[in-house]
Symmetry: C2
Subunit: 296 residues, 2 copies
Protein backbone atom coordinates (compact mmCIF):
# COMPACT_ATOMS: atom_id res chain seq x y z
CA UNK A 1 0.00 0.00 0.00
CA UNK A 2 1.50 3.32 -1.01
CA UNK A 3 0.46 6.19 1.18
CA UNK A 4 1.21 9.86 0.88
CA UNK A 5 2.22 10.57 4.45
CA UNK A 6 3.09 14.23 3.91
CA UNK A 7 3.12 15.98 7.28
CA UNK A 8 1.20 19.24 7.65
CA UNK A 9 4.20 20.64 9.47
CA UNK A 10 7.07 21.14 7.01
CA UNK A 11 10.45 21.73 8.63
CA UNK A 12 11.01 25.42 9.26
CA UNK A 13 14.75 25.54 8.70
CA UNK A 14 16.91 24.01 6.03
CA UNK A 15 19.64 21.52 6.63
CA UNK A 16 21.96 23.58 4.44
CA UNK A 17 19.33 23.84 1.74
CA UNK A 18 21.98 24.16 -0.95
CA UNK A 19 23.08 20.95 -2.62
CA UNK A 20 20.39 18.92 -0.87
CA UNK A 21 19.57 17.42 -4.26
CA UNK A 22 22.84 15.52 -4.24
CA UNK A 23 21.32 13.24 -1.62
CA UNK A 24 18.53 11.98 -3.85
CA UNK A 25 20.01 11.53 -7.32
CA UNK A 26 18.19 9.44 -9.87
CA UNK A 27 19.29 5.85 -10.40
CA UNK A 28 20.85 4.84 -7.11
CA UNK A 29 19.20 1.52 -6.40
CA UNK A 30 22.23 0.07 -4.63
CA UNK A 31 21.51 1.88 -1.35
CA UNK A 32 19.32 -0.39 0.76
CA UNK A 33 15.79 0.74 1.62
CA UNK A 34 16.08 4.02 -0.27
CA UNK A 35 12.83 5.99 -0.26
CA UNK A 36 10.93 5.78 -3.58
CA UNK A 37 11.75 8.35 -6.29
CA UNK A 38 10.30 11.84 -5.81
CA UNK A 39 6.63 12.18 -6.64
CA UNK A 40 6.79 15.89 -7.41
CA UNK A 41 3.41 16.06 -9.14
CA UNK A 42 1.62 14.87 -6.04
CA UNK A 43 3.50 17.46 -4.01
CA UNK A 44 2.61 20.27 -6.41
CA UNK A 45 -1.05 19.36 -6.13
CA UNK A 46 -0.96 19.33 -2.35
CA UNK A 47 -2.37 22.69 -1.37
CA UNK A 48 -1.25 22.29 2.25
CA UNK A 49 2.37 22.46 1.19
CA UNK A 50 1.95 25.45 -1.10
CA UNK A 51 4.01 28.44 -0.20
CA UNK A 52 2.19 31.18 1.60
CA UNK A 53 2.81 34.90 1.07
CA UNK A 54 5.08 35.09 4.10
CA UNK A 55 7.45 32.38 2.81
CA UNK A 56 7.64 34.00 -0.63
CA UNK A 57 8.28 37.37 0.93
CA UNK A 58 11.11 35.97 3.06
CA UNK A 59 12.64 34.08 0.11
CA UNK A 60 12.53 37.13 -2.16
CA UNK A 61 13.84 39.38 0.61
CA UNK A 62 16.87 37.16 1.26
CA UNK A 63 17.68 36.65 -2.43
CA UNK A 64 17.24 40.32 -3.42
CA UNK A 65 19.09 41.62 -0.35
CA UNK A 66 22.00 39.21 -0.92
CA UNK A 67 22.25 40.20 -4.60
CA UNK A 68 22.13 43.92 -3.83
CA UNK A 69 24.76 43.59 -1.09
CA UNK A 70 27.09 41.36 -3.18
CA UNK A 71 27.07 43.83 -6.09
CA UNK A 72 26.89 46.86 -3.78
CA UNK A 73 30.05 46.00 -1.86
CA UNK A 74 32.05 45.64 -5.09
CA UNK A 75 30.71 48.96 -6.43
CA UNK A 76 31.48 50.65 -3.10
CA UNK A 77 35.05 49.29 -3.11
CA UNK A 78 35.59 50.45 -6.72
CA UNK A 79 34.13 53.88 -5.90
CA UNK A 80 36.40 54.23 -2.84
CA UNK A 81 39.57 53.16 -4.67
CA UNK A 82 38.94 55.32 -7.77
CA UNK A 83 37.71 58.51 -6.09
CA UNK A 84 39.65 58.47 -2.80
CA UNK A 85 42.75 56.30 -3.36
CA UNK A 86 43.80 57.49 -6.84
CA UNK A 87 42.84 54.50 -9.04
CA UNK A 88 45.05 51.71 -10.35
CA UNK A 89 48.51 51.10 -11.83
CA UNK A 90 50.96 48.17 -12.13
CA UNK A 91 54.66 48.48 -11.20
CA UNK A 92 54.69 52.33 -11.54
CA UNK A 93 53.56 53.14 -8.02
CA UNK A 94 53.38 50.76 -5.05
CA UNK A 95 50.32 52.60 -3.71
CA UNK A 96 48.35 52.43 -6.97
CA UNK A 97 49.38 48.81 -7.46
CA UNK A 98 48.19 48.04 -3.93
CA UNK A 99 44.78 49.47 -4.90
CA UNK A 100 44.19 46.46 -7.19
CA UNK A 101 44.30 44.21 -4.12
CA UNK A 102 41.03 45.21 -2.35
CA UNK A 103 39.01 45.43 -5.58
CA UNK A 104 40.13 42.06 -6.97
CA UNK A 105 39.89 40.28 -3.64
CA UNK A 106 36.36 41.59 -3.01
CA UNK A 107 35.40 40.57 -6.57
CA UNK A 108 36.87 37.06 -6.22
CA UNK A 109 36.37 36.07 -2.59
CA UNK A 110 33.10 37.89 -1.89
CA UNK A 111 31.10 38.73 -5.04
CA UNK A 112 31.90 35.72 -7.25
CA UNK A 113 32.01 33.25 -4.34
CA UNK A 114 28.86 34.74 -2.80
CA UNK A 115 26.89 34.41 -6.05
CA UNK A 116 28.28 30.91 -6.48
CA UNK A 117 26.82 29.93 -3.09
CA UNK A 118 23.59 31.86 -3.73
CA UNK A 119 23.06 29.95 -7.01
CA UNK A 120 21.68 27.03 -5.00
CA UNK A 121 18.88 29.34 -3.85
CA UNK A 122 18.32 31.09 -7.17
CA UNK A 123 18.34 28.24 -9.72
CA UNK A 124 16.42 25.41 -8.11
CA UNK A 125 14.22 24.83 -11.15
CA UNK A 126 17.20 24.30 -13.49
CA UNK A 127 18.77 20.84 -13.99
CA UNK A 128 21.07 20.13 -11.04
CA UNK A 129 24.12 19.42 -13.20
CA UNK A 130 23.90 22.89 -14.80
CA UNK A 131 23.68 24.49 -11.36
CA UNK A 132 26.80 22.56 -10.31
CA UNK A 133 28.66 23.61 -13.46
CA UNK A 134 27.69 27.28 -12.98
CA UNK A 135 28.70 27.01 -9.31
CA UNK A 136 32.13 25.76 -10.43
CA UNK A 137 32.34 28.40 -13.18
CA UNK A 138 31.77 31.24 -10.70
CA UNK A 139 34.47 29.85 -8.43
CA UNK A 140 36.77 29.40 -11.46
CA UNK A 141 36.24 33.10 -12.27
CA UNK A 142 37.29 33.94 -8.72
CA UNK A 143 40.69 32.22 -9.12
CA UNK A 144 42.38 34.76 -11.49
CA UNK A 145 41.02 37.61 -9.36
CA UNK A 146 42.53 36.13 -6.20
CA UNK A 147 45.88 35.32 -7.86
CA UNK A 148 46.19 38.84 -9.37
CA UNK A 149 45.17 40.45 -6.06
CA UNK A 150 47.76 38.40 -4.19
CA UNK A 151 50.52 39.30 -6.66
CA UNK A 152 49.54 42.99 -6.56
CA UNK A 153 49.94 43.26 -2.80
CA UNK A 154 53.06 41.07 -2.70
CA UNK A 155 54.82 43.24 -5.34
CA UNK A 156 53.68 46.50 -3.76
CA UNK A 157 55.10 45.41 -0.37
CA UNK A 158 58.47 44.81 -2.08
CA UNK A 159 58.38 48.08 -4.05
CA UNK A 160 57.95 50.49 -1.10
CA UNK A 161 60.97 51.91 0.69
CA UNK A 162 61.70 50.30 3.15
CA UNK A 163 60.01 47.05 1.98
CA UNK A 164 57.06 46.05 4.18
CA UNK A 165 57.23 42.64 5.92
CA UNK A 166 55.01 39.90 4.43
CA UNK A 167 52.44 37.89 6.41
CA UNK A 168 52.76 39.96 9.55
CA UNK A 169 49.29 41.30 10.36
CA UNK A 170 46.09 39.45 11.35
CA UNK A 171 44.66 40.29 7.91
CA UNK A 172 47.49 38.43 6.16
CA UNK A 173 47.17 35.42 8.50
CA UNK A 174 43.44 35.16 7.86
CA UNK A 175 43.99 35.76 4.14
CA UNK A 176 46.49 32.90 3.87
CA UNK A 177 44.11 30.50 5.67
CA UNK A 178 41.23 31.63 3.42
CA UNK A 179 43.22 31.09 0.20
CA UNK A 180 44.41 27.65 1.36
CA UNK A 181 40.82 26.67 2.25
CA UNK A 182 39.59 27.97 -1.12
CA UNK A 183 42.17 25.89 -3.02
CA UNK A 184 41.39 22.68 -1.06
CA UNK A 185 37.63 23.26 -1.41
CA UNK A 186 37.87 23.87 -5.19
CA UNK A 187 40.03 20.81 -5.90
CA UNK A 188 38.06 18.44 -3.65
CA UNK A 189 34.72 19.80 -4.94
CA UNK A 190 35.80 19.51 -8.58
CA UNK A 191 36.82 15.87 -8.19
CA UNK A 192 33.98 14.84 -5.87
CA UNK A 193 31.00 16.39 -7.62
CA UNK A 194 32.08 16.57 -11.28
CA UNK A 195 34.82 14.01 -12.06
CA UNK A 196 33.29 11.22 -9.92
CA UNK A 197 29.98 11.71 -11.78
CA UNK A 198 31.48 9.58 -14.60
CA UNK A 199 30.53 6.50 -12.58
CA UNK A 200 27.42 7.92 -10.95
CA UNK A 201 26.00 4.90 -9.15
CA UNK A 202 29.20 3.59 -7.66
CA UNK A 203 30.23 6.95 -6.20
CA UNK A 204 26.77 7.88 -4.84
CA UNK A 205 27.48 7.09 -1.18
CA UNK A 206 30.81 8.90 -1.33
CA UNK A 207 29.30 12.03 -2.95
CA UNK A 208 26.33 11.94 -0.58
CA UNK A 209 28.65 11.88 2.42
CA UNK A 210 30.67 14.76 0.95
CA UNK A 211 27.66 17.11 0.52
CA UNK A 212 27.31 18.43 4.07
CA UNK A 213 31.09 18.62 4.51
CA UNK A 214 31.52 20.57 1.24
CA UNK A 215 28.62 22.91 2.12
CA UNK A 216 29.78 23.58 5.70
CA UNK A 217 33.40 24.03 4.64
CA UNK A 218 32.34 26.37 1.80
CA UNK A 219 30.26 28.50 4.12
CA UNK A 220 33.14 28.60 6.63
CA UNK A 221 35.41 29.69 3.76
CA UNK A 222 33.03 32.52 2.84
CA UNK A 223 32.91 33.66 6.48
CA UNK A 224 36.73 33.56 6.62
CA UNK A 225 36.82 35.70 3.46
CA UNK A 226 34.45 38.23 5.04
CA UNK A 227 36.56 38.33 8.24
CA UNK A 228 39.70 38.85 6.12
CA UNK A 229 38.06 41.74 4.22
CA UNK A 230 36.93 43.40 7.46
CA UNK A 231 40.37 43.14 9.09
CA UNK A 232 42.06 44.48 5.93
CA UNK A 233 39.62 47.37 5.81
CA UNK A 234 40.15 48.30 9.47
CA UNK A 235 43.95 48.08 9.11
CA UNK A 236 43.88 50.42 6.08
CA UNK A 237 41.45 52.78 7.79
CA UNK A 238 43.59 53.05 10.94
CA UNK A 239 46.66 53.68 8.79
CA UNK A 240 44.85 56.50 6.94
CA UNK A 241 43.62 58.04 10.21
CA UNK A 242 47.20 57.86 11.51
CA UNK A 243 48.55 59.55 8.37
CA UNK A 244 45.95 62.26 7.69
CA UNK A 245 44.03 62.53 10.99
CA UNK A 246 40.40 63.61 10.95
CA UNK A 247 41.25 67.10 9.75
CA UNK A 248 39.75 67.49 6.29
CA UNK A 249 36.13 67.11 5.23
CA UNK A 250 37.25 64.80 2.39
CA UNK A 251 38.93 62.25 4.66
CA UNK A 252 35.92 62.29 6.96
CA UNK A 253 33.63 61.27 4.08
CA UNK A 254 36.14 58.55 3.13
CA UNK A 255 36.03 57.31 6.73
CA UNK A 256 32.25 56.96 6.59
CA UNK A 257 32.45 55.18 3.22
CA UNK A 258 34.95 52.69 4.69
CA UNK A 259 32.80 52.13 7.79
CA UNK A 260 29.79 51.48 5.54
CA UNK A 261 31.84 48.93 3.57
CA UNK A 262 32.64 47.19 6.86
CA UNK A 263 28.97 47.05 7.85
CA UNK A 264 28.05 45.65 4.41
CA UNK A 265 30.76 42.96 4.70
CA UNK A 266 29.44 41.81 8.09
CA UNK A 267 25.82 41.93 6.84
CA UNK A 268 26.86 39.75 3.87
CA UNK A 269 28.55 37.19 6.12
CA UNK A 270 25.33 36.89 8.12
CA UNK A 271 22.79 36.99 5.27
CA UNK A 272 24.57 34.44 3.06
CA UNK A 273 24.80 31.99 5.96
CA UNK A 274 21.08 32.56 6.66
CA UNK A 275 20.23 32.22 2.93
CA UNK A 276 21.77 28.76 2.62
CA UNK A 277 20.22 27.54 5.86
CA UNK A 278 16.60 28.67 5.58
CA UNK A 279 14.60 25.89 3.97
CA UNK A 280 11.32 27.48 3.06
CA UNK A 281 12.32 27.74 -0.57
CA UNK A 282 9.90 25.78 -2.77
CA UNK A 283 12.49 23.32 -4.08
CA UNK A 284 13.94 22.49 -0.69
CA UNK A 285 10.54 21.88 0.81
CA UNK A 286 9.95 19.58 -2.17
CA UNK A 287 13.08 17.54 -1.44
CA UNK A 288 12.01 17.24 2.17
CA UNK A 289 8.52 16.18 1.33
CA UNK A 290 9.74 13.55 -1.10
CA UNK A 291 11.79 12.12 1.75
CA UNK A 292 8.55 11.73 3.67
CA UNK A 293 6.79 9.65 0.99
CA UNK A 294 7.06 6.16 2.44
CA UNK A 295 5.85 2.77 1.24
CA UNK A 296 4.13 0.98 4.08
CA UNK B 1 -2.83 0.98 11.57
CA UNK B 2 0.19 2.58 13.20
CA UNK B 3 3.40 2.01 11.35
CA UNK B 4 6.92 2.97 12.28
CA UNK B 5 8.09 4.40 8.97
CA UNK B 6 11.56 5.43 10.13
CA UNK B 7 13.74 6.09 7.12
CA UNK B 8 17.19 4.51 7.02
CA UNK B 9 18.59 7.84 5.83
CA UNK B 10 18.50 10.33 8.70
CA UNK B 11 19.00 13.96 7.60
CA UNK B 12 22.66 14.89 7.62
CA UNK B 13 22.35 18.53 8.61
CA UNK B 14 20.25 20.17 11.29
CA UNK B 15 17.65 22.83 10.72
CA UNK B 16 19.21 24.85 13.52
CA UNK B 17 19.32 21.84 15.79
CA UNK B 18 19.03 24.06 18.85
CA UNK B 19 15.52 24.72 20.14
CA UNK B 20 14.02 22.17 17.78
CA UNK B 21 12.14 20.71 20.77
CA UNK B 22 9.98 23.84 20.89
CA UNK B 23 8.22 22.53 17.82
CA UNK B 24 6.91 19.37 19.45
CA UNK B 25 5.92 20.30 23.01
CA UNK B 26 3.68 17.98 24.97
CA UNK B 27 -0.01 18.75 25.09
CA UNK B 28 -0.66 20.66 21.88
CA UNK B 29 -3.73 18.92 20.51
CA UNK B 30 -5.18 22.07 18.97
CA UNK B 31 -2.89 21.96 15.93
CA UNK B 32 -4.59 19.90 13.25
CA UNK B 33 -3.06 16.62 12.13
CA UNK B 34 -0.12 16.84 14.55
CA UNK B 35 2.13 13.73 14.49
CA UNK B 36 1.62 11.47 17.51
CA UNK B 37 3.68 12.15 20.67
CA UNK B 38 7.32 11.00 20.54
CA UNK B 39 7.83 7.30 21.04
CA UNK B 40 11.38 7.55 22.28
CA UNK B 41 11.60 4.00 23.53
CA UNK B 42 10.93 2.65 20.08
CA UNK B 43 13.59 4.93 18.68
CA UNK B 44 16.16 3.92 21.29
CA UNK B 45 15.61 0.31 20.40
CA UNK B 46 16.02 0.93 16.70
CA UNK B 47 19.58 -0.12 15.96
CA UNK B 48 19.51 1.45 12.49
CA UNK B 49 19.30 4.91 14.01
CA UNK B 50 22.01 4.36 16.61
CA UNK B 51 24.88 6.74 16.37
CA UNK B 52 27.98 5.40 14.76
CA UNK B 53 31.52 6.20 15.89
CA UNK B 54 31.93 8.90 13.26
CA UNK B 55 28.88 10.86 14.45
CA UNK B 56 29.98 10.65 18.07
CA UNK B 57 33.48 11.73 17.12
CA UNK B 58 32.13 14.76 15.22
CA UNK B 59 29.72 15.69 18.02
CA UNK B 60 32.43 15.46 20.69
CA UNK B 61 34.93 17.30 18.48
CA UNK B 62 32.57 20.24 17.92
CA UNK B 63 31.48 20.47 21.57
CA UNK B 64 34.99 20.12 23.04
CA UNK B 65 36.53 22.49 20.49
CA UNK B 66 33.84 25.12 21.08
CA UNK B 67 34.28 24.87 24.86
CA UNK B 68 38.07 25.11 24.66
CA UNK B 69 37.90 28.12 22.29
CA UNK B 70 35.19 29.94 24.33
CA UNK B 71 37.22 29.63 27.55
CA UNK B 72 40.56 30.00 25.74
CA UNK B 73 39.70 33.35 24.16
CA UNK B 74 38.73 34.82 27.56
CA UNK B 75 41.92 33.51 29.18
CA UNK B 76 43.98 34.89 26.28
CA UNK B 77 42.33 38.32 26.62
CA UNK B 78 42.92 38.37 30.40
CA UNK B 79 46.55 37.29 29.90
CA UNK B 80 47.12 40.00 27.27
CA UNK B 81 45.52 42.78 29.38
CA UNK B 82 47.26 41.84 32.63
CA UNK B 83 50.75 41.08 31.29
CA UNK B 84 51.01 43.50 28.35
CA UNK B 85 48.51 46.34 29.05
CA UNK B 86 49.13 46.91 32.78
CA UNK B 87 45.95 45.43 34.31
CA UNK B 88 42.79 47.22 35.48
CA UNK B 89 41.67 50.39 37.31
CA UNK B 90 38.53 52.55 37.51
CA UNK B 91 38.67 56.35 37.16
CA UNK B 92 42.40 56.59 38.08
CA UNK B 93 43.80 56.06 34.61
CA UNK B 94 41.89 56.20 31.31
CA UNK B 95 44.17 53.49 29.87
CA UNK B 96 43.70 51.03 32.73
CA UNK B 97 39.96 51.75 32.80
CA UNK B 98 39.81 51.05 29.07
CA UNK B 99 41.39 47.62 29.77
CA UNK B 100 38.15 46.51 31.46
CA UNK B 101 36.36 46.94 28.13
CA UNK B 102 37.88 44.06 26.09
CA UNK B 103 37.82 41.57 28.98
CA UNK B 104 34.20 42.25 30.01
CA UNK B 105 32.94 42.40 26.43
CA UNK B 106 34.63 39.11 25.51
CA UNK B 107 33.21 37.55 28.71
CA UNK B 108 29.67 38.81 28.04
CA UNK B 109 29.27 38.83 24.25
CA UNK B 110 31.43 35.82 23.39
CA UNK B 111 32.00 33.42 26.31
CA UNK B 112 28.64 33.68 28.14
CA UNK B 113 26.60 34.07 24.93
CA UNK B 114 28.56 31.30 23.21
CA UNK B 115 27.96 28.84 26.06
CA UNK B 116 24.33 29.91 26.16
CA UNK B 117 23.96 28.92 22.47
CA UNK B 118 26.05 25.78 22.95
CA UNK B 119 23.77 24.62 25.80
CA UNK B 120 21.29 23.36 23.22
CA UNK B 121 23.96 20.93 22.09
CA UNK B 122 25.29 19.99 25.52
CA UNK B 123 22.12 19.46 27.58
CA UNK B 124 19.70 17.64 25.30
CA UNK B 125 18.91 14.94 27.85
CA UNK B 126 17.81 17.49 30.48
CA UNK B 127 14.19 18.73 30.66
CA UNK B 128 13.70 21.38 27.99
CA UNK B 129 12.43 24.04 30.41
CA UNK B 130 15.63 23.80 32.47
CA UNK B 131 17.73 24.21 29.32
CA UNK B 132 15.69 27.33 28.43
CA UNK B 133 16.13 28.75 31.93
CA UNK B 134 19.89 28.10 31.89
CA UNK B 135 20.04 29.64 28.39
CA UNK B 136 18.36 32.77 29.77
CA UNK B 137 20.56 32.73 32.90
CA UNK B 138 23.77 32.74 30.82
CA UNK B 139 22.47 35.66 28.77
CA UNK B 140 21.40 37.42 31.96
CA UNK B 141 24.98 37.02 33.27
CA UNK B 142 26.21 38.65 30.06
CA UNK B 143 24.15 41.83 30.67
CA UNK B 144 26.16 43.31 33.62
CA UNK B 145 29.41 42.47 31.78
CA UNK B 146 28.26 44.34 28.67
CA UNK B 147 26.94 47.35 30.64
CA UNK B 148 30.15 47.64 32.69
CA UNK B 149 32.30 47.24 29.56
CA UNK B 150 30.32 49.94 27.78
CA UNK B 151 30.62 52.36 30.74
CA UNK B 152 34.35 51.65 31.06
CA UNK B 153 35.12 52.62 27.49
CA UNK B 154 32.71 55.59 27.50
CA UNK B 155 34.31 57.05 30.64
CA UNK B 156 37.84 56.39 29.44
CA UNK B 157 37.12 58.25 26.17
CA UNK B 158 35.99 61.26 28.22
CA UNK B 159 38.93 61.08 30.63
CA UNK B 160 41.77 61.26 28.07
CA UNK B 161 43.14 64.63 26.96
CA UNK B 162 41.85 65.63 24.41
CA UNK B 163 38.62 63.54 24.80
CA UNK B 164 38.22 60.90 22.10
CA UNK B 165 35.09 61.11 19.88
CA UNK B 166 32.37 58.53 20.61
CA UNK B 167 30.89 56.18 18.00
CA UNK B 168 33.36 57.10 15.30
CA UNK B 169 35.09 53.87 14.21
CA UNK B 170 33.70 50.76 12.51
CA UNK B 171 34.17 48.87 15.80
CA UNK B 172 31.83 51.27 17.63
CA UNK B 173 29.22 51.12 14.84
CA UNK B 174 29.19 47.33 14.90
CA UNK B 175 29.23 47.35 18.71
CA UNK B 176 26.15 49.57 18.89
CA UNK B 177 24.24 47.35 16.43
CA UNK B 178 25.29 44.23 18.39
CA UNK B 179 24.15 45.66 21.73
CA UNK B 180 20.82 46.79 20.24
CA UNK B 181 20.29 43.32 18.71
CA UNK B 182 21.20 41.68 22.04
CA UNK B 183 18.65 43.79 23.94
CA UNK B 184 15.85 43.11 21.42
CA UNK B 185 16.67 39.39 21.34
CA UNK B 186 16.74 39.09 25.14
CA UNK B 187 13.43 40.92 25.69
CA UNK B 188 11.58 39.15 22.85
CA UNK B 189 13.04 35.75 23.85
CA UNK B 190 12.14 36.25 27.51
CA UNK B 191 8.52 37.08 26.73
CA UNK B 192 8.06 34.55 23.92
CA UNK B 193 9.62 31.46 25.46
CA UNK B 194 9.18 31.97 29.21
CA UNK B 195 6.31 34.38 29.97
CA UNK B 196 4.01 33.00 27.25
CA UNK B 197 4.51 29.50 28.69
CA UNK B 198 1.88 30.40 31.33
CA UNK B 199 -0.79 29.58 28.75
CA UNK B 200 1.14 26.84 26.96
CA UNK B 201 -1.47 25.49 24.54
CA UNK B 202 -2.84 28.79 23.30
CA UNK B 203 0.57 30.26 22.53
CA UNK B 204 2.00 27.13 20.86
CA UNK B 205 1.67 28.31 17.27
CA UNK B 206 3.13 31.70 18.13
CA UNK B 207 6.12 30.20 19.98
CA UNK B 208 6.61 27.61 17.25
CA UNK B 209 6.79 30.36 14.62
CA UNK B 210 9.24 32.30 16.76
CA UNK B 211 11.75 29.43 17.14
CA UNK B 212 13.62 29.72 13.79
CA UNK B 213 13.51 33.52 13.94
CA UNK B 214 14.94 33.58 17.48
CA UNK B 215 17.61 31.02 16.58
CA UNK B 216 18.69 32.75 13.33
CA UNK B 217 18.66 36.19 14.95
CA UNK B 218 20.65 34.87 17.92
CA UNK B 219 23.27 33.33 15.69
CA UNK B 220 23.48 36.55 13.65
CA UNK B 221 23.94 38.42 16.93
CA UNK B 222 26.81 36.12 17.93
CA UNK B 223 28.47 36.63 14.52
CA UNK B 224 28.04 40.41 14.91
CA UNK B 225 29.70 40.16 18.34
CA UNK B 226 32.63 38.24 16.85
CA UNK B 227 32.99 40.81 14.04
CA UNK B 228 32.93 43.62 16.63
CA UNK B 229 35.66 41.91 18.69
CA UNK B 230 37.85 41.39 15.62
CA UNK B 231 37.52 45.02 14.47
CA UNK B 232 38.24 46.29 18.01
CA UNK B 233 41.28 44.04 18.23
CA UNK B 234 42.67 45.20 14.86
CA UNK B 235 42.07 48.89 15.71
CA UNK B 236 43.95 48.50 19.02
CA UNK B 237 46.73 46.52 17.38
CA UNK B 238 47.23 49.14 14.63
CA UNK B 239 47.31 51.88 17.27
CA UNK B 240 49.97 50.00 19.25
CA UNK B 241 52.06 49.37 16.11
CA UNK B 242 51.76 53.10 15.32
CA UNK B 243 52.88 54.07 18.84
CA UNK B 244 55.65 51.56 19.54
CA UNK B 245 56.58 50.19 16.10
CA UNK B 246 57.97 46.70 15.79
CA UNK B 247 61.18 47.57 17.60
CA UNK B 248 61.18 45.59 20.84
CA UNK B 249 60.98 41.85 21.30
CA UNK B 250 58.20 42.34 23.88
CA UNK B 251 55.86 44.20 21.52
CA UNK B 252 56.49 41.58 18.84
CA UNK B 253 55.28 38.81 21.18
CA UNK B 254 52.25 40.96 22.06
CA UNK B 255 51.54 41.31 18.34
CA UNK B 256 51.50 37.53 17.88
CA UNK B 257 49.25 37.10 20.95
CA UNK B 258 46.78 39.61 19.48
CA UNK B 259 46.87 37.93 16.06
CA UNK B 260 46.16 34.58 17.74
CA UNK B 261 43.21 36.14 19.56
CA UNK B 262 41.87 37.30 16.18
CA UNK B 263 42.20 33.83 14.67
CA UNK B 264 40.41 32.31 17.70
CA UNK B 265 37.57 34.85 17.39
CA UNK B 266 37.02 33.98 13.70
CA UNK B 267 37.28 30.25 14.44
CA UNK B 268 34.62 30.67 17.16
CA UNK B 269 32.27 32.50 14.81
CA UNK B 270 32.53 29.61 12.36
CA UNK B 271 32.46 26.69 14.79
CA UNK B 272 29.48 27.95 16.82
CA UNK B 273 27.45 28.44 13.64
CA UNK B 274 28.42 24.91 12.52
CA UNK B 275 27.65 23.51 16.01
CA UNK B 276 24.05 24.73 16.03
CA UNK B 277 23.43 23.59 12.45
CA UNK B 278 24.79 20.04 12.44
CA UNK B 279 21.99 17.68 13.37
CA UNK B 280 23.66 14.41 14.03
CA UNK B 281 23.35 14.82 17.76
CA UNK B 282 21.34 11.99 19.30
CA UNK B 283 18.51 14.19 20.59
CA UNK B 284 18.03 16.04 17.33
CA UNK B 285 17.90 12.83 15.35
CA UNK B 286 15.31 11.71 17.88
CA UNK B 287 13.11 14.75 17.25
CA UNK B 288 13.40 14.18 13.53
CA UNK B 289 12.52 10.54 13.76
CA UNK B 290 9.48 11.23 15.91
CA UNK B 291 8.33 13.58 13.18
CA UNK B 292 8.45 10.62 10.80
CA UNK B 293 6.20 8.38 12.88
CA UNK B 294 2.93 8.62 10.98
CA UNK B 295 -0.49 7.08 11.51
CA UNK B 296 -1.77 5.71 8.24
Amino acid sequence: METNSVSPLPPLDAPLAMMENEKTPPGTPSVTEMPPPPDEKRYEEDSENAWNCCSWFEYLLIVILSTVLLIGVLVLTLFWVIFYRGGFAWADSPQLQFNLHPVLMVAGCVTFSGFSILLYRLCRCIKHLYVKLTHMLFHACAIPCIVMAFLAVFESHNLVEPPKPHFYSLHTWLGLITMAMFAVQFIVGFFSFLVLLCCENRTYSCRSAMVPIHASFGLANFMMAVATCVTGLVETERQLVGETGLSTRNSEIEHYIMNSMGVVFVALGIIISVAVRRSNAPATAKVYVTERLEIN
